[in-house]
Symmetry: C2
Subunit: 231 residues, 2 copies
Amino acid sequence: MRKAVVLLSGGLDSATTLYYAKSKGYKCHCLIFEYGQRHKKEVKSAKAVARQAGCKSQVIKINLPWKGSSLLDKKLELPKDYELRVTDYGLRKAIPSTYVPARNIIFLSFALSYAEAIGAEKIFIGANAVDYSGYPDCRPEFFRAFEKVVKVGTRAGSRFSVLGSRLNIEAPLIKKSKKEIVRLAKRLKAPLELTWSCYEGGSRPCGVCDSCALRAKGFRAAGLEDPLYGS
Amino acid sequence: MRKAVVLLSGGLDSATTLYYAKSKGYKCHCLIFEYGQRHKKEVKSAKAVARQAGCKSQVIKINLPWKGSSLLDKKLELPKDYELRVTDYGLRKAIPSTYVPARNIIFLSFALSYAEAIGAEKIFIGANAVDYSGYPDCRPEFFRAFEKVVKVGTRAGSRFSVLGSRLNIEAPLIKKSKKEIVRLAKRLKAPLELTWSCYEGGSRPCGVCDSCALRAKGFRAAGLEDPLYGS
């Protein structure tokens, strides 16, 4: 069975991505990161999603002592004006304060190491660039650039590999809207009731942070009810 | 004063790189990794080199639970036939067992995060591709590919940055032979007596692992004595 490493945050997008990878016949190894995020609660969700999917998961603890992001530092305020900050094209005018420098590059580099070590041929990541977080490391051009790094910087990707360049990165949601993602999740029977998106990480979703706003937009447009808000 | 992040392993090359960066007028912030390497001793050396250079240093602990490298697993034997394995061009015929999947990609991604957070404009790394470790992530084409990732995947490098694309990676030793590196270290007064290269990490260098072999080659060719072997 072909192996894949799936980056799993515990949110809507990564859970959908895991179920998508499974539906394509991959044996999925989930990688979950505890990196000082204020919504550490998502780690528990990610573990629950992996368990529900019947997949192995590894939690990697990372210390980023330099902070400077509102996602790492509870003393900083989270942005709450998502609708005001998007342009007509759904693109952000500026990178929000929740941006964690080089986060997806760090996550992908660990995924790469894991994938090489176990002989996986794919790394799945749930990034999307339509209903868009505003992070530069969620855009198609970033993934294209990172694939070149895989090709020249690893055994699995390089000319030294007996298997040729076999390892690559797939971001199946990259061009999907949140509405399409919610519908795909439903179709794949992803356990959305186990996911967690809210940056605040409280007992219930705050409903106003960017992550809640994007999730709500998706459910609303799909005409479905978010199980996290169910009675 | 312009800031730089310097990846410091504690060996000859990275110590020389730190002193090179200092000589170019950078305020250097050293990043040291404890990643389960069998020669964990190099972490102590790295700290001592940073201290001697008067530079701040951060130790990042990383857990790579997947192993599979003789540099991470003491049960595996280290390669000891360096001269046999190099071609006429100093290039390896195969990647040695000490290769750690995606190691430099992981190190650079943390350096990138740190550099963005503190507003550094350079990341220095002591990789070299002449008297060559055989690792794909030490080659010029790898660094070129990674720079593209910086450009499209970070705030500091992207079009969103108010400062423009200011952050880049420099590998000043990339085209130098070990002889030239030893001579440069001498000229820059890098404290080679504090460095550590041997993969075994014993009380004295083993003298036969690849790292010892390369270091010895450099000192021999430069006509200098390695202070680690002094009486």
